[in-house]
Symmetry: C2
Subunit: 148 residues, 2 copies
Amino acid sequence: MNNAEFLAWLHQAIPLTEAMQIDELEYTGYSVRLSAPLAPNINDKGTGFAGSIAGLATLCGWTLLTLWLRQRGVEADVMIAKSEQRFLAPVTERLVAEARLPEDSVVQQFWDRFQDKRRARLPISVTVGGAEVKLELFGDYAAIERTR
Amino acid sequence: MNNAEFLAWLHQAIPLTEAMQIDELEYTGYSVRLSAPLAPNINDKGTGFAGSIAGLATLCGWTLLTLWLRQRGVEADVMIAKSEQRFLAPVTERLVAEARLPEDSVVQQFWDRFQDKRRARLPISVTVGGAEVKLELFGDYAAIERTR
């Protein structure tokens, strides 16, 4: 499944991602960029709706861990367990979220535990905005291997 | 503006609230309940999409402070400044969020400061779920009086 196919699957599986018109997904192996136009995600002040911004950020971290696991042949249920969000400034243009894996040692620890227990948690940082960060999200994502 | 009128205004001002089909709003003077059906807010696992759940909770706290201020004749821009969210269990039915004001002394402190500085922050707790809480959100909301 390439990036475009994954995005099409997202729209079908999570209808709100279609309502948000998320139209760009880029996965590099260690980061994910998700992006959506401002118009469908606007609030009463004409800037980005906090629910859309936080939702895009939450989904961005989720997509990163989901794709990272799939790359390793693992189908897992990935869920956010907790998150902390700081809204630093209004979003006045296209919403662009970027999620990045933590440092290698943390990823390795997650992967060792996942292979041992078939479930593990990974902390992922996500920002929304470009040069100027508008939202910082620190999320803990849980992955549980799917048994069939 | 009554509850139904406020909800209609929300749908128009924040299009994602219409996509989420938020169809119930109850304001008591010290709490707000917002609710939406599961179907438009579903994820790939057939349970509530974290982005929808967190978005509904964020909006619920925002609505509480906005309506509380309007009741006092104040038109303010209300924005979430930061939040902490704990996802405790999947949402398997209608999304119901409930936001409550903090204890009276904290509200009084907020109101004194707001009248003095025309801006202040209020911490608001929100839960999603009913008897069994599925999400806890602790948000800091900033209110800034609108000058015309």
